[in-house]
């Protein structure tokens, strides 16, 4: 429990550094630290699948962010601070945290989930689906339709990225369309 709390504090500190740092490179690296901390938390909480996924996704996000953006413009200097917006947002956040606290009190205590539905997965998942990794049996059998949606989300997002990165968006009527169907680029 103590390890968990200190890791969560570490994550929060990392997030604060990421938000307040003046240099985008340190921002991106701190968010990387947050992600890796998160993956250790997942490991502690008995979710090895998520830990693996979080690590590899974090690496990929870091590469994409550094390669795609940080080399362009390395500093983020705030020209001015909007005090009014800041005060309003602080009040809102205070309210949010209070409400959240009240809501959390009504939830089952930490460490004692209800597991009304998921007990069935643990009990019969192995016989009914044949997969010994129960998480996998959920995402690819019980809730395979979700996973179709998930694959499609990724597909859509990547297609969207290709669309946005087209060299030329509009053309004259009758002009030949020279953009590649696959990956857009200089070639």
């Amino acid at each position: 429990m103590l390890v968990l709390i200190s890791l969560l504090v570490f994550i929060n500190l990392g997030a604060i550094i990421a938000i307040e740092s003046k240099y985008l490179l340190s921002t991106v690296i701190s968010i990387g630290a947050v992600g890796f901390g998160l993956s250790i938390v997942f490991l502690l909480l008995g979710a090895p699948d998520l830990a693996i996924t979080q690590v590899v996704v974090e690496i990929l996000i870091l590469i994409i962010l550094i390669r795609g953006t940080v080399t362009l413009d390395n500093t983020a200097i705030e020209k001015y601070r909007d005090t009014f917006a800041m005060v309003i947002s602080l009040i809102f956040f205070g309210m949010f945290l209070t409400f959240a606290y009240m809501a959390f009190k009504a939830l089952p205590e930490f460490g004692h989930p209800l597991m009304r539905v998921s007990r069935e997965y643990l009990q019969h998942g192995v016989e009914k689906t044949g997969a010994t990794n129960i998480v996998m049996s959920i995402i690819l059998d019980y809730r395979a339709y979700d996973t179709l949606g998930e694959a499609t989300v990724l597909f859509t997002a990547i297609l969207g990225a290709f669309v946005v990165l087209r060299r030329k968006g509009r053309k004259k009527i009758g002009e030949k369309d020279t953009t590649k169907v696959g990956i857009p680029g200089e070639f």
Partner: protein
């Protein structure tokens, strides 16, 4: 068991993948496949009218697996989505000649349709979230389709706000899961119904209100809409304003508030305040606009307010009016956005101040636009009149006199700003720059004329519509949390 239900999602998804593969060898593959799929979807959705069924994905029974739920309300939305998307596609065939990468456009369009169908059919919280994300991500990309400054900026704003909405929604789902231990909507409704009122449910509801309110662009959460809707290509503006804000925002709000949580006086008044604010603010902001599509976008906010107010009443008449206004708005707003697109296609401008006397040059476009304008301002016998009338009568019946008078006033406001548009379309002199413009291509005109005819017909055939699709939808909303019994077959 109705095997057509998964096809509503699977067919457009498959079409999207196939279009991209075929486009490598045949660049024009997008148009015929997308049209064919769209016609198929119209046929499917007509064939499910009057039916109600549950489909178990992978034959797992409800709380453990995902179920698709078809009832009157989802049929209404499916029908709207497929009909409007068919007209938008028909319009886009020639309109998209101005853009590069047409196959990707059609693939994204199909993904958008698949996402919306998935949201409408889903009976499971997390599944709903996943399909919501498909539709939203496809719409971000489609808003930025032109790759110009305004489009990218609008898309980025939309992405940020909508991303926040998604995290709110996921947080709400997490809280509900922790509280009830299940993700199935009906099961959640049953569990919450047996529980004393508590703060966690309230917190989840407020998260959902913020999240789906952002997607529906109700007033405090609207800033993305007036940027995003005008920036998109015209068929996409029609889809976004016509169906997306309703399928992702209003529909889910209705479903959750009525069928899962049950309508309480508190929820009803919150929704009514949001709706009333949207009506007034959207209407007032629309007056000052010079950009035609931006004006239409603000008026969308105003009209979605009518829908919210009508539904929030919770009386049979109010719900009827809200639902009827929902489909009416889908028809005339897509007609108007498509007309705006056609005008832009011809004149290369969206600024009202640079237009004038267009009706001589573009008779078909301006006439169909005029029908749309008359309909949205509530001129009898067009469809917009009837739905607004029903909503106002329902408001008076329920004793909300202030809100009723506000609704009447906003209706006059609508007439006012469309009078302004009409002046630029029909009267005044044709600017010298636009002397050589010609009528838009044939296919675009067909789509406009058909939509205009639909506006007329829906006004005249209200009894027929109410008997076939509106009544079942209203009954679903009125049955409230009895929805549970349908899903679990008790």
């Amino acid at each position: 068991m109705n095997h057509i239900l998964p096809l509503f999602v699977a067919v457009p998804l498959g079409t999207a993948f196939i279009i991209l593969i075929l486009a490598k060898v045949w660049r024009k593959a997008g148009v015929p496949f997308a049209l064919l799929t769209s016609i198929c979807l119209v046929i499917f959705s007509v064939s499910v009218i009057g039916q109600a069924s549950i489909y178990r994905m992978g034959n797992w029974p409800p709380p453990w697996g995902i179920v698709l739920v078809l009832d009157g309300l989802s049929t209404l939305l499916l029908l709207t989505i497929s009909v409007i998307s068919f007209f938008a596609l028909l319009f886009s065939i020639r309109y998209m000649d101005r853009y590069t990468a047409k196959p990707k456009f059609y693939a994204l369009f199909m993904l958008l349709v698949a996402g919306m169908n998935g949201v409408v059919l889903s009976g499971d919280f997390f599944n709903l979230f996943v399909f919501l994300e498909i539709a939203s991500i496809a719409s971000y990309a489609l808003v930025a389709f032109g790759c110009e400054e305004e489009e990218l900026e609008a898309s980025f704003k939309y992405l940020i706000l909508s991303g926040v909405a998604s995290t709110f929604i996921l947080l709400g789902i997490a809280i509900l899961y922790s509280l009830t231990g299940t993700l199935n909507m009906a099961d959640v409704a049953r569990t919450i119904g047996n529980m004393p009122a508590n703060n966690a449910v309230l917190f989840a509801i407020s998260m959902f209100l913020m999240g789906f309110g952002l997607k529906a662009a109700l007033v405090p959460f609207h800033p993305w809409l007036p940027d995003a809707h005008p920036a998109a290509p015209a068929p996409i503006s029609a889809m976004l304003s016509g169906v997306l804000i309703k399928a992702l925002g209003m529909y889910v709000l209705i479903r959750l508030i009525f069928n899962v949580f049950g309508l309480s006086p508190f929820l009803s008044s919150v929704l009514m305040i949001l709706g009333g604010l949207s009506m007034v603010v959207g209407g007032l902001l629309a007056i000052g606009q010079d950009d035609l599509k931006r004006l239409l976008a603000y008026s969308s906010i105003s009209q979605i307010g009518y829908v919210a107010v009508g539904l929030a009443l919770g009386t049979p008449l109010g719900i009827m009016g809200g639902l009827f206004h929902l489909i009416n708005h889908a028809t005339f707003k897509s007609l108007l956005f498509l007309s705006a697109g056609a005008i832009e296609y011809s004149t290369d401008t969206r600024k009202l101040s640079k237009m004038g006397g267009l009706s001589n040059r573009l008779p078909v476009t301006t006439t169909s636009a005029a029908i749309g304008f008359l309909s949205i301002s509530g001129i009898p016998p067009l469809n917009g009149f009837w739905s607004k009338l029903i909503i106002i009568i329902a408001l008076v019946q329920a004793g909300h006199y202030i809100l009723a008078s506000v609704a009447v006033l906003v209706s006059f406001l609508t007439i006012l700003y469309f009078m302004r548009v009409q002046r630029h379309l029909f009267f005044g002199d044709l600017p010298a720059k636009l002397a050589k413009i010609t009528e838009v291509p044939y296919l675009m005109r067909v789509s406009l004329v058909l939509l205009a005819i639909m506006c007329l017909a829906m006004g005249l055939l209200y009894p027929f519509l109410s008997g076939t699709i509106l009544d079942p939808a209203r009954d679903v909303i009125l049955e409230g949390t009895a929805y549970v019994h349908r899903v679990f077959g008790v």
